[in-house]
């Protein structure tokens, strides 16, 4: 099978699994969980691009996830409250009489939807300009992005009256007029998230196979060398970083209707580094690897913690250690190895296996 046909088959099978098999096999509760995992998978696709292909270990993706999530939740809270009314927590904790100015635009659904993706991208752009232009990279970049996550979480927590503090924004009832308590609507949310994941995979696939994708790998492997060919590597990296931030923002925005909450607990150092683990397990530089890895890790977390809670922490620790030390290419490298061995066999690669 030609690589193109294989990719086509991969996308087809993924779509089939996500849109037909999963909804048929899984009950409402498990499908809701899968919706959440798919959001993490969207973040992972972006990290795969930035880290796997671009060499930028983004340990602060929680910030962009949070920006997208808060933008969406702010709109939904305002919509729940009704025109002219304040969201419940503001009167409780903030004792505000009027909406803060920076909340006001989010009452507009178009603004809010655009903001979920564009706001994280804008922040990433500004930050990236500062960081990449000055050639801060490698470990420095990783530690700095981690510190950003810490600072952002602290900032959000400190503004309880206007951000909900540690609670975050909770108790979201509706999604653009649809009641989130209705299981039918929750399925709709799942389908939207699955579509978004497929579109993001497509976008990442296009970026990776494009000339830009080749250039990004070149920058990853020999940043200085690229300079001598007339490119500014800062711009090359910036694109991947901004795209990854946009994907994280989108994922955060979709997480809100799926789970009904966004809080600083999803933003700080620990969640941000947890976003990376699935990417490492699945195969950082591959297309489907990060998404599969993220889904698998999230599923394992649920499954294990339902049985033996304290074992999960050990397991998570080992997930960071074993694949990275002994299988840096992740699960994807196993698939590739197998494919090479069975080069004659026409079997389509299983792009994705949905956990149940």
């Amino acid at each position: 099978m030609s690589p193109r046909l294989r990719t086509f088959a991969g996308f087809g099978i993924t779509a089939l699994l996500l849109f037909a098999v999963a909804p048929l096999v899984l009950g409402d509760f498990r499908l809701g969980l899968l919706a959440k995992y798919l959001c993490f998978a969207i973040v992972a696709v972006g990290i795969g691009l930035a880290w796997g292909r671009g060499g930028m270990l983004a340990l602060g993706q929680g910030v962009f996830f949070g920006l997208g999530g808060y933008a969406m939740a702010m709109h939904l809270k305002l919509a729940d409250a009704g025109p002219g009314e304040l969201p419940d927590f503001m009167t409780l904790y903030g004792q505000l009489d009027a909406l803060p100015w920076w909340w006001a635009p989010f009452a507009n659904p178009v603004f809010a939807l655009l903001a979920t993706v564009l706001l994280p991208m804008l922040v990433a752009l500004l930050l990236g300009l500062l960081i990449f232009r000055r050639r801060v990279r490698g470990a420095y970049f990783a530690i700095l992005s981690q510190a950003l996550a810490a600072a952002f979480a602290i900032l959000l927590i400190g503004q309880q009256g206007t951000t909900g503090g540690t609670n975050g924004l909770t108790d979201i009832q509706g999604f653009f007029g649809y009641d989130l308590n209705d299981p039918v609507n929750r399925r709709m949310i799942y389908f939207i998230i699955a579509t978004a994941l497929l579109l993001m995979l497509l976008a990442a696939w296009q970026l990776m196979r494009s000339r830009y994708g080749e250039l990004l790998v070149a920058v990853r492997d020999a940043e200085e060398r690229v300079r001598f060919l007339g490119y500014d590597p800062a711009n090359v990296k910036l694109v991947a970083y901004v795209v990854a931030a946009g994907m994280a923002g989108l994922a955060g925005a979709l997480f809100v209707p799926a789970v009904g909450i966004i809080s600083p607990a999803l933003i700080g150092v620990v969640p941000s580094i947890e976003f990376v683990i699935g990417v490492a397990v699945g195969g950082r530089a591959s297309l489907a690897g990060p998404a599969i890895g993220a889904i698998a890790v999230a599923w394992a977390k649920t499954a294990l913690s339902e049985r033996v809670p304290s074992a999960w922490t050990y397991f998570e620790g080992l997930l960071f250690v074993l694949p990275i030390v002994f299988l840096p290419g992740g699960i994807a490298s196993l698939v590739r190895l197998r494919r090479r061995r069975t080069a004659e066999a026409p079997a389509a690669p299983a792009l994705e296996k949905v956990p149940s």
């Binding site: 960081i131 801060v136 470990a139 990783a142 600072a151 927590i157 200085e224």
Partner: protein, 314 residues
């Protein structure tokens, strides 16, 4: 006078302005925060700065140092004696943990510093959970010797906690000892040789693997010393490492790798900055301002305060 009264009446809390005593005592607070930062960052300055290894489990080594004090106090009742004995014991315990980590994992990852970061993060999770399973999830208590729970009266307004003085002294002693080791001993010369040119050092017959392990032993051992110091001022529990590790790395990054003096200066500058801003505003605002200051600083000096110049392409 009248204006002062008016302003006081308008503000919710009567601010007393900033008398000299407050500035001086905040200055010392800053220095003591800096001393803590320095102690927890010093080992990192060696492992990250000299060997380019990002050890996220450094915080858990600090935790292990603190638990060592707890374990020792189970058998040695005198708080003072147990603390003094804990210093070398912790150094040895966490140093050995570092060597084990180096031999088992880090050695395979010298070419992949970012992967080291993730792998050691995993190790830190495992160590935390192990601490929970061994010592229980709640914090444990140690008793501080009586000469370290009091304070030293400087003037009527300025009082300095003796535990803070002890930590400052400990931090400075650790820096001095480390400098002496690096500058004067043959081990130090070998460490610096490996840092400057690993290949050349290997070619010239230096057992770089042994030097790496020794460096890691010292760097991790310093985490143990920091752990002992932290029992005097903070909680001893499974999560104590995670709260400090990011700040410690920031100190090393801003200080510039490969040089201890950067770490020393930056620890104290950040400590003083934090304490001054915190006094004037709140802890949250101070944390954010310190982050912004660090990004701004790295705009100016992307490689940190001090750097070793090399002509390598990377």
């Amino acid at each position: 006078m009248i204006a002062g009264v008016g302003a006081a009446a308008l503000t919710p809390y009567p601010r007393r302005g900033l008398p000299v005593s407050v500035i001086v005592s905040q200055l010392f607070t800053g220095v003591s925060i800096g001393a803590v930062l320095l102690l927890i960052a010093l080992g990192l300055a060696l492992t990250f700065g000299q060997m380019n290894v990002i050890n996220m489990a450094h915080g858990e080594f600090i935790m292990a140092g603190a638990y060592t004090v707890y374990v020792l106090q189970q058998s040695i009742s005198s708080a003072g004696a147990s603390l003094l004995i804990a210093l070398p014991v912790s150094f040895a315990v966490t140093g050995l943990m570092g060597v084990i980590l180096e031999v088992l994992l880090i050695r395979r990852l010298y070419a992949r510093p970012l992967d080291t970061l993730l792998v050691t993060w995993g190790v830190s999770l495992i160590l935390q959970q192990a601490a929970r399973d061994i010592f229980g999830a709640p914090n444990v208590q140690t008793s501080a010797p009586s000469f370290l729970t009091g304070s030293v009266q400087i003037t009527d307004d300025i009082v300095i906690a003796s535990s803070r003085l002890f930590i400052l002294g400990l931090a400075l002693a650790a820096v001095a000892a480390l400098m002496i080791v690096l500058k004067t001993t043959s081990l130090g010369r070998r460490i610096r040789a490996v840092v400057q040119n690993r290949d050349l050092a290997a070619v010239s017959g230096l057992a770089t693997g042994r030097v790496d392990r020794l460096t890691f032993f010292i760097g991790s051992g310093l985490a143990g010393i920091a752990g002992v110091a932290l029992t005097l001022i903070g909680p001893i529990g499974p999560a104590m490492g995670t709260n400090i590790i990011v700040n410690a790395f920031l100190v090393v990054v801003v200080g510039g790798i490969g040089q201890l003096k950067g770490t020393v200066i930056v620890a104290f500058v950040l400590g003083i900055l934090q304490s001054m801003v915190e006094y004037a505003t709140t802890v949250s605002v101070a944390s954010v301002i310190v982050f912004v200051a660090i990004v701004a600083f790295l705009q100016w000096r992307p490689q940190g305060l001090f750097t070793l110049r090399t002509r390598s392409l990377a």
